[in-house]
Amino acid sequence: MVFSNAEGSASRNFFLTSVLWMAIGMSFGLFAAVLMIFPDLVRNIPILEYFTFGRVRPVHTNLVLFGWLTGAYFGTVFYMVPRLAGTKLWSERLGNATVVLHNIMMTSFAAALLLGYNTGREYAEQPWVNKLLVAAVFIMVIINVLMTFACRTEKELYVSAWYFIGALLTAPVIYIVGNQFLLPWNPVSGVNDAVINWFYGHNILGYWFTPVGIGAIYYLLPKMVGAPIWSHRLSMIGFWVIFFVYGPTGAHHLVNGPVPYWLQTVAIAFSVCLIVPVWTVLTNFYGTLSGRWGAVKESVPLKFLVSAMVFYFITCFQGPMQSLRSVSAITHFTSWVVGHAHLALLGTFSFIMFASIYYALPRLVGRQIWSVRLQEWHFWLSLIGFAMFFVSLTVGGLVQGSHWLANQSGSFIGSVTGQLPYNIVRAMGGALILGAQVLFIYNIFKSVTAGKRFEVESDAVAAAQA
């Protein structure tokens, strides 16, 4: 059963398991936010010693990045690739084996971190054994996807196919190199290790999360508005620019730090250049939607995509700005950076995955979404909660940076206690977001078990496309 060969089963199983990891991961995130308000909450409570901030926070990041977002990405890729290639997925059985291994991996991730195993490297906290599982999962997915394209009947590759193949070929390289070749010891240490860590930490965003997310938009938007993307050539230019420009940007996490000046400057220059691919995506998005904005009123997935584009623009407006030395001097190490990371991973890519699941799951299980009303609640609670979340983090971050600039030998603890109001709003926003996802998960599972039959409007399709 778990290694089923049924068409679409691997994609469906990835979607259904990824949302569960999202719930768990976001719960840890909310708990971390609460700990920032009540830092002594778990003090001297024997069992809860496992849930200190230092353990809870990496559990949150690992579960949402690798469990939720990467799991949903695999589900999206397994759904869209066969349809882009004009053939079935090469092996649903291999896909389902990947689902099982992915879930074993995520369980191991959570256990290791809660037990205190932590390498101290951002997004790479896992012990090396768990990292081997990540590499294995990626290899399984790569084989499945490349073999599907090798057997394709659709000879020309649409832009989404380029993005998915590009992501699957580059992300593992970044993961392996950035995790010091998955060796049980670290050959490189000190500042040089920081450079390698951020080569990985930033480029996993640029070569995994960004291309699969953008590829998904280029697939979903035409399907939702019934019109092709505005310019395929422009989308391909955006693709090539992303893949060439993203690589050297990692060191912008180390600006004003003890790394070579030229390395920082290269990273800053390329970070500014990243504005170009963003503009290609946004131009294509608005060009495609032109004359079809009414559809947004009636479609929750489209609302999620439109919101994601706003957050994507803001992420890529902030990014080049905060890579500049003068701005980084204020924002580095503050809550601004936390807000920026969530703008990308939650506001942009998670919102895109919500749209992807709402689109794909009914087609996979043959049942409509159970409740449109719950969809609306999901969207509005997510949007309002996230707005509270990132605004409070951004303002709080600027206050922190301003305080540190003005009081360089003064009281650091003053800047910490001064964050309390922002941390409270952040936690409230996080609670709204988590609540919204609970509704989402309930709606999804009710759809799978009790949704009305999903009907393909083939006659309408034929008539309208004639």
Binding site: G86, R292, S307, F313, I314, L405, G410, V461
Partner: protein
């Protein structure tokens, strides 16, 4: 560098849209005629601006000095060389394999790939709905102003350094 970069990107992006024939009908002809020149102007502004800023902003500030030469050459020329090499290689490979000549027709295939479109695809547009585009556009503008203002306030306010 931010000013040079912003100006260069705006020029280059308009030039790109012009070359691809993607500007609104009123400017389409002009865009196709001037697009490549705008692209070149943007690139020149970026490179020239990089040299200028390198001379001002680097630790080694003496124009013409050996240290300035190292900073400017490494940071600017080196970046351009690596970037240009890979871009040229990708262009040559892409041209040879034919993928650069891929027309727009592939985007129409997506709508006929057997995956049914959403019901919203058949919705008839009602008058005035185009104005909904203003909501995300205004949101982007407001948020961009908000972030820029916040950063400028912190950067420019007088600070007391003990």
């Amino acid at each position: 560098m931010g000013l040079y970069g912003a100006a260069a990107l705006i020029l280059a992006f308009i030039g790109l849209l012009g070359t691809l024939g993607l500007l609104p009908p009123r400017w389409k002809q002009g865009g196709m005629r001037w697009g490549k020149r705008l692209l070149a102007a943007g690139a020149a502004l970026l490179v020239g601006g990089g040299f200028h800023v390198s001379s001002l902003g680097s630790v080694e500030e003496t124009l013409g000095g050996a240290a300035w030469g190292r900073a400017a050459a490494q940071q600017t020329l080196g970046t351009i060389a690596v970037f240009g090499f890979f871009a040229a290689a990708a262009y040559v490979l892409g041209k040879r394999s034919g993928v650069l000549d891929m027309g727009e027709r592939v985007k129409y295939r997506l709508l006929h790939n057997g995956d049914p479109v959403d019901a919203t695809a058949w919705r008839t547009a009602l008058p005035g709905e185009q104005r909904l585009a203003l909501i995300p556009l205004v949101a982007m503008g407001v948020l961009a102003l908000f972030f820029t203002a916040g950063v400028l306030i912190v950067l420019l306010r007088p600070t007391a350094i003990h």
